[in-house]
């Protein structure tokens, strides 16, 4: 069975070129970049090159790039740093639809005496900037808002948000894990102070991330020890993965146009065909700006896990916004925050494409999904009641 992988917001395939680039740094060029000898030095050079490549993708300076272990670490480090930098400030602002890497941390901090405000989103999953403007104050240490949502692909107006926040003297962080490589970013002309990204979302391996820290932004490291990463993150560098990250960013820069063009067209076709073929559907976040690769489609009266299992029988890998797959029992917090009705939220499926997605993949889904939905609806006590009307 051919596998049709449409779950790229969960993780991506490592690009062969990325893998080739990192391969020598395990068994041959295994030196420690901190060593004084030539053997470590050559690795150091390659790490520097990777740093420059990441910086180039972000429109940043190489010394603004801090390599971490993952997006989660980057998110955690940014927020924790801000709280240490401003010990007198006790307020954090985030949104209700953040990734758990931010949300869980903020909720834990609220138990430790911090005031945490979670901004609401509207039915399209979009922020209300006037609410942010009203709520950010002198006590706010940091505002952390995601660039693009992992479930719906909805893109927040991050630059505007950052400007509002900077005026009040707070730090601004964005979790850009889903956005980097898919839409252009330019830190040189941005008000963002800190930005997180993750390797495995852009065809580098799992286990490497980046925190961008703007020059001049006060920063306190979470990991202390050696002087790696200019004192901002101690610990011997994960050199092979860092090198892979550099290559992945270089490729992402080349492929950005592909995302904006070919990938978006495939996504749009999938969306058009599915909504035409399956009655009672809606597109989550469909009314606002979204990532070119993400489609979150809600189908009434069916439950997501059943859909995923039947898709998986056809070799199709997607993800659900329903809870049953994750072990928690509510529909995803993102769909809930958007006020997606329960009749739809349980039956939401996310397809996320990549540069490796082909037209055949899209055809396969268009062929497989409609009969799966009819089958499950025929089995469902609600599907019948409502559809026969």
């Amino acid at each position: 069975m051919r596998e049709i992988y449409l779950d790229n917001n969960a993780t991506t395939k490592v690009d062969e070129r990325v893998f080739e680039e990192m391969r020598p740094y395990f068994c041959e060029l295994y030196g420690n970049p901190s060593s004084m000898h030539f053997f470590g030095g050559q690795v150091q050079k390659k790490v520097d090159e990777a740093r420059a490549r990441v910086a180039s993708l972000l429109g940043a300076l190489p010394d603004e790039i801090v390599f971490t272990a993952c997006g989660t670490e980057s998110d955690n480090a940014a927020i924790r740093s801000a709280l240490e930098v401003f010990p007198e400030k006790r307020h954090i602002i985030t949104s209700r639809v953040e990734h758990p890497a931010v949300l869980t941390q903020c909720r834990n901090l609220s138990k430790r005496g911090y005031r945490v405000t979670e901004l609401n989103v509207d039915g399209n999953g979009q922020l209300d900037l006037s609410e942010l403007e009203r709520l950010v104050d002198e006590d706010t240490a940091i505002v952390s808002l995601m660039y693009a949502n992992n479930e719906t692909g909805v893109i927040f107006p991050i630059e505007e948000a950052a400007k509002i926040v900077k005026k009040k003297g707070a730090l601004f962080h964005t979790d850009a894990v889903q956005a980097v490589g898919k839409i252009p970013l330019n830190m040189a002309e941005s008000a963002i102070d800190m930005l997180s990204l993750s390797g495995h979302k852009l065809h580098a391996p799992k286990g490497v991330g980046v925190l961008y820290v703007r020059r001049g932004t006060p920063f306190r490291p979470m990991l202390v020890g050696g002087h790696q990463e200019r004192g901002r993150r101690a610990g011997t560098e994960n050199t092979a993965s860092i090198i892979a990250m550099g290559k992945a960013c270089q490729l992402a820069e080349q492929y950005m146009a592909d995302e904006a063009g070919r990938v978006r067209e495939m996504r749009d076709r999938l969306e058009r065909e599915l909504t035409a073929l399956i009655p009672n559907t809606r597109i989550n976040g469909g009314g606002t700006e979204r990532l070119p690769n993400t489609l979150s489609i809600a189908m009434e009266f069916v439950e997501g896990e059943g859909i995923l299992l039947l898709l998986s029988e056809k070799g199709i890998c997607a993800s659900s916004g329903s809870a049953c797959t994750s072990g928690s029992l509510e529909p995803s917090h993102v769909l809930r925050a958007m006020g997606v009705p329960f009749t739809c939220a349980h039956g939401s499926i996310r397809f996320s494409l990549s540069r490796f997605t082909t037209d055949d993949d899209i055809d396969a889904v268009i062929e497989a999904l409609p009969p799966i939905i009819s089958r499950l609806r025929a089995m469902s006590p609600f599907g019948r009641e409502f559809l026969n009307k």
Binding site: F301, E305, L309, L329, H346
Partner: protein, 286 residues
């Protein structure tokens, strides 16, 4: 991805008895769209209204909800209503070769639907789960507002599946799986059920055979006593049982501890409480 057994997969991919019985004798409906799963069960009886000759279902829910419903309809066929009522959620899970613990609520839902159907057929009050749209006033106090579950229902599931943590209760019933506001109350219910079981255990030991007594002593030491000693860095070992005389040796922090005499009394008290009032505990070096 869940680790489903082949049997679960088979019943999910080829569910038996999907659909409705238009002239059903009994219909039971539990769950709701909001809960994320729901089951409507139809039952047809033979002419004498004795045995179940047919059963069909409609399910809105995940893979294991569909498989559990399919299993249930297979299991009830040929049974009398009383026999069908004996089916436990564990048996539904067993029929499928087991369900992941997080999915046990699917099997509970099957059992509930069956109870509701039969109660309605018999014209008695539907059992109290509260979970669902279909039945009138359910007895008991509402504990989990998100999923509409009552204390009576939760206590029943806790007792029959021997649940000991709030997390397990969530897996079996969904209670606590949304806002979590009911978790403290769920913990109280667990404590209550455990307390009642212990009381029952204390009332029981009228006449223990020697073998049963020895087993009980060992179980009590393992489950009640040692975990408490571990918590303080200590431990004990059972050396011998002679009638009602239990010999133990203390280990780790308890060995040579000045208050080991006190600890021995604690062990004795536990064993008297849970096994038999005539037990004496003796500390030995072993």
């Amino acid at each position: 991805m869940w680790d489903y057994t082949d049997k679960v997969k088979e019943h999910f991919l080829n569910p038996r008895n999907v659909g409705e019985i238009t002239d059903a004798d009994a219909v039971g409906e539990v769950g709701s769209l909001a809960c994320g799963d729901a089951l409507k069960l139809f039952i047809k009886l033979d002419e004498n209204k004795e045995r179940i000759v047919d059963a069909k279902f409609q399910t809105f829910g995940c893979g294991s909800a569909i498989a559990s419903s399919s299993a249930l309809t297979e299991m009830v066929k040929g049974k009398t209503l009383d026999e069908a009522l004996e089916i436990t959620n564990q048996q539904i899970a067993d029929f499928l070769g087991g369900l992941p613990e997080e999915k046990m609520h699917c099997s509970v839902m099957g059992q509930e639907a069956l109870e509701v159907a039969i109660a309605k057929y018999r014209g008695v009050e539907a059992p109290a789960h509260g979970h669902g749209h279909d039945h009138v006033e359910s007895e008991g106090e509402l504990v989990c507002k998100c999923f509409g579950l009552t204390d009576v229902f939760l206590k029943k599931v806790i007792a029959s599946n021997k649940l000991t943590t709030a997390e397990q209760v969530t897996h079996f019933t969904k209670a606590g799986g949304a806002c979590g506001g009911c978790i403290p109350k769920i913990k109280e219910l667990i404590a209550e059920v455990l307390g009642e079981e212990k009381k029952a255990a204390v009332e029981k030991p009228a006449k223990l055979t020697n073998l049963r007594k020895m087993q009980l002593i060992q179980e009590t030491l393992e489950n009640e006593v040692r975990p408490q000693l571990w918590a303080d860095g200590g431990d004990l070992e059972l050396i011998d049982i002679d009638g009602s005389n239990v010999q133990v040796a203390f280990r780790k922090a308890c060995a040579g501890c000045a208050s080991s005499g006190y600890t021995a009394r604690f062990v004795e008290q536990k064993l008297r409480e849970l096994v038999s009032p005539d037990i004496t505990v003796q500390e030995v070096q072993g």
